[in-house]
């Protein structure tokens, strides 16, 4: 006899313990599966998994870079999700932000580096914010379904970015991915790259700035949601729109404003991806991370710090899978399988944080209800 009862609440210690157990169980299952498929020594498998993220300095920076971009997008989703506004348009908001950065990179590269970078970041934020505000406005004005709206906005953004990138990167009619200002012989070379500002050239350490900037964003978002009037209004609207109205909160304004912030931070992630990582923009700059971030944000219960942890875990699994795929001659989908296993466990353990499961050998007394 299994009895399932809804929990009244859960201590934070137990909820953390359940999640950690879920991750460990998932990793064990990954090991078992890899062992069954490849017959390799489990120790070797572990080595490869860890090696994917920490094997070399280069891989470590790669791990950090990916974690940070993913965290930045997830943090951007936090205000929307906290408001129970299901923004699944981070992909598009990020791309539009990237486009904003790219415009300045392409046409205003003559500006000195620091102002150029600041302007790029600002324009990226504005572009992302506009892309977020549009569904926010329609929700406020006509109660348009935000989930569908933000989703569709992604596809519009992808097409816009594809169009301009093909033109500006001079790759019309080819399948090449161009790099803006990427030719070493051009005067514009390296303009608008974060690394250029500090080292004059690109190397792995460029990611240091990316890491620092994103950590600042994470802390700022945490403080915004927790301590400001606007953050408080977001929480109230998220729990009960009606209570918010009674308390004199203008809910429509909160929708639009919070979506501007949400889109703005996602746009900023786009700027970072362009300026600090890929130094170009294609539709694959976002690479589905706008969607992955939804899972991260949701798992973290809109807590920005937890988002970094989940983003790190996700990235770790992704890289571990890639590494194992190459070490054991498996194809690329292998990493997706492993990531899927971990996500399944982490999402699945939500059940145990919400419900209590008890096994009783027999039940006493007559008919049970």
């Amino acid at each position: 006899m299994i009895r399932i009862t809804k929990r009244d609440g859960i201590s934070s210690l137990l909820s953390v313990a359940i999640r950690v157990l879920a991750v460990i169980a998932a990793l064990i299952l990954c090991l078992v599966i890899t062992f069954l498929f490849t017959g390799r020594d489990p120790l070797r498998v572990i080595t490869e998994m860890v090696g994917g993220s920490f094997g070399t300095t280069k891989r470590m920076w790669e791990f950090l870079q990916r974690t940070m971009i993913l965290s930045c997008i997830a943090v951007g989703l936090a205000p929307a999700f906290k408001m129970h506004f299901w923004n699944i348009g981070a992909e598009g908001q990020m791309l539009m932000g990237g486009l904003g950065a790219l415009i300045l990179m392409k046409f205003c590269w003559t500006i000195p580096s620091l102002p150029l970078l600041i302007l790029m970041a600002l324009l990226a934020i504005v572009f992302g914010a506009i892309w977020g505000m549009i569904p926010g406005f329609f929700k406020a004005k006509w109660n348009a379904n935000e989930t569908l709206f933000t989703l569709m906005m992604n596809y519009i953004a992808i097409q816009i970015v594809l169009y301009f990138c093909t033109i500006w990167e001079g790759t019309v009619g080819t399948v090449k991915i161009g790099i803006v200002n990427g030719k070493a012989e051009e005067a514009a070379y390296h303009k608008g790259w974060i690394g250029e500002l500090f080292t004059g050239n690109f190397n792995d350490k460029d990611y240091m700035w990316l890491v620092l900037i994103v950590l600042v964003v994470v802390v700022a978002m945490w403080a915004y949601l927790r301590y400001t009037k606007q953050g408080y209004e977001i929480s109230v609207v998220g729990d009960s729109v009606n209570t918010a109205k009674y308390a004199g909160i203008r809910v429509n304004k909160v929708y639009v404003r919070s979506m501007a912030i949400s889109g703005g931070v996602c746009g900023f992630a786009g700027f970072l991806a362009v300026s600090a990582v890929s130094r170009t923009l294609t539709e694959s700059t976002a690479d589905g991370r706008g969607f992955t971030a939804i899972i991260i944000a949701w798992l973290a219960h809109t807590n920005p710090y937890l988002m970094v942890i989940f983003a790190a875990l996700y990235t770790f699994m992704e890289l571990a899978g890639k590494q194992m795929a190459s070490a054991f001659q498996l194809n690329d989908y292998y990493s997706k399988i492993l990531t899927g296993i971990v996500l399944f466990f982490v999402l699945g353990c939500e059940f145990f944080t919400n419900y209590k499961v008890r096994f009783s050998k027999k039940h006493k007394g007559g008919a049970a209800k």
Partner: protein
């Protein structure tokens, strides 16, 4: 055949939790081919009782007989099987479907087949037989409230219901639509169907029913033949004898006009008038009680004053501050009212849906009122914490802490203390409360009454929407009675009787409404 009743309820008891007994040992018969009106105040257990016939609830004790045979109704499906059709207050229709599609929704027909033309034919036959006006192909979203109700009724008839239960069917109808509905009900009666109608409106009871059964506070009071009943006799049965509660009612020294409402008219989203030309004045230094059966416009009235309801042109709501400054509240939203410096407090009926945020702890709920008090972009914290501690101490709120446990997990009484405590903490000049003691035990209720009286003595204009007439009569200075969105009378609480108010509550002025 003539001897068996359509439905017999024997010793039905239904409890919710340990304390609340919604139905206490109720026995009731429904004869074949009669219209039985089920009468009672709010919370007297009418809907609960009917829900046990409809398969929504399962009785804790007692038996149900249908056509003389004992039955067990475990689900709405069982209920249908026994020929019981329930028409709920809130319609359960799919908006994008047509009338006919809604009618057959969920029926097990022939596998994979939906014979629309035969459905239409049957629907038309039913409509002709009883005098409904229905277009089987009309989509629900194009329908008026009354048309939707017709679909609900045809739906249960289509399924072969012999007993129809209508839960306050006229609450949403205009007088003309009500007349049509009653005509249809009489036709159904002629056809041998038995009907139970739940309503508050006495004139309708007298108009349409054959027999009246009265419930009061979960108990069965008795039944009378409608022919021998009067509005007065039914009111007496419904409200019972007056009980003395001994609520202290000191006289305020000076009463000044604080809130003047003139010709206030409010329509809901469907355009139905919820308030119709309401005029009154609330005085600082008195408690103005508002009585009326549920849905007579109480909610809309308070919301209109609080800036949450758009008023129709011609409406006037004036606020006169203690200093004597006048301003109009028309067109102001709650934030405008706050910004104008008007200390208006509101304890809404729906505690978690309107007054509080259930998932937040006490402090964060107090913040709803104080968070703006801090300068700059940061929300106030210290003030809310101090206030929360004070409320917990002063009002004896039982809680493990003020800043961790979600307020939803406190008991109803403690939740209400926090809400009332927060609303009076700003020393309001106008304090509105809706059903402030609903679900609370005696002690907490008295504490709330005392707090309200305290506010009155401080000069606030207190508006108290209540349902217990005994309390209204002892607590308030004046009582305004609403009926169907209109003011049916304003009485002096010291001299008025329960019967007087009971009559006003049900005195639906039909000719005005038409």
């Amino acid at each position: 055949m003539a001897q068996t009743n359509a439905i017999e309820l024997r010793h039905i008891t239904k409890r919710f939790g340990q304390k609340v007994i919604a139905n206490d040992d109720i026995s009731l018969d429904l004869h074949k081919g009669e219209i039985l009106a089920l009468l009672g105040e709010n919370g007297s257990g009418k809907t609960t009782l009917m829900n046990m016939l409809g398969g929504i609830y399962f009785p804790d004790e007692g038996q149900i007989f249908i056509d003389g045979e004992e039955v067990t109704i475990r689900s709405p499906k069982d209920s249908f099987r026994y020929g019981i059709g329930m028409i709920h207050q809130h319609f359960k229709l799919v908006d994008v479907f047509t009338a006919a599609e809604n009618i057959v929704l969920g029926l097990e027909g022939e596998k994979g087949k939906l014979d629309k033309s035969s459905i239409r034919k049957t629907v038309r036959e039913i409509a002709e037989r009883y005098g409904f006006e229905i277009d089987p192909d009309q989509k629900v979203y194009d329908m008026s409230v009354s048309q939707k109700q017709t679909v609900e009724i045809v739906k249960v008839l289509y399924r072969g219901a012999n007993v129809l239960i209508l839960d306050e069917p006229t609450a949403v109808l205009t007088p003309q639509e009500t007349d049509k509905l009653f005509a249809v009900m009489r036709n159904m009666k002629k056809d041998g169907k038995a009907i139970i109608i739940i309503t508050h409106k006495l004139h309708e009871v007298l108009d349409v029913s054959d027999r009246v059964a009265v419930l009061r506070k979960g108990k069965y009071i008795g039944d009378v033949e409608t022919a021998t009943a009067t509005q007065q006799s039914l009111t007496d049965m419904m409200v019972g004898r007056a009980v003395s509660l001994n609520i202290d009612r000191p006289k305020a020294e000076k009463c000044v006009e604080r809130l003047v409402v003139n010709n206030l008219t409010v329509r809901d989203k469907e355009g139905v008038k919820k308030l119709d030309n309401v005029s009154f004045a609330a005085m600082g230094g008195e408690i103005l009680g508002i009585a009326g059966v549920a849905g007579s416009g109480q909610k809309e009235l308070l919301e209109a004053i609080a800036g949450l309801q758009p008023e129709e042109p011609g409406s006037e709501i004036r606020y006169i501050s203690p200093e004597g400054n006048e301003m109009s509240l028309i067109g102001m939203d709650p934030l405008d009212i706050i910004n104008a410096g008007i200390l208006l407090s509101f304890v809404p009926e729906d505690r978690f849906g309107a007054g509080l945020v259930g998932s937040m702890p006490i402090v964060d709920n107090i913040k709803l009122r104080t968070y703006r008090d801090h300068k700059g972009i940061l929300a106030d914290r210290a003030k809310a914490q101090a206030l929360a501690d004070r409320i917990v101490l002063d009002l004896e709120v039982v809680t493990p802490n003020t800043n961790v446990i979600p307020i939803r997990r406190l008991s109803g009484g403690n939740v209400q203390k926090v809400l009332v405590g927060r609303e009076i903490s700003s020393s309001p000049t106008v304090l509105m409360t809706a059903y402030a003691v609903r679900g609370l035990d005696i002690n907490t209720s008295y504490m709330i009454y005392n707090l309200l009286t305290e506010q009155k003595m401080k000069g606030a204009a207190v508006i108290y929407v209540g349902e217990d007439l005994d309390v209204l009569l002892e607590l308030c200075d004046r009582i305004m009675v609403l009926c169907g969105g209109q003011v049916s009378g304003i009485v002096d609480a010291a001299t008025a009787t329960k019967e007087e108010i009971g009559l006003l509550m049900t005195q639906f002025r039909r000719e005005d409404k038409a």
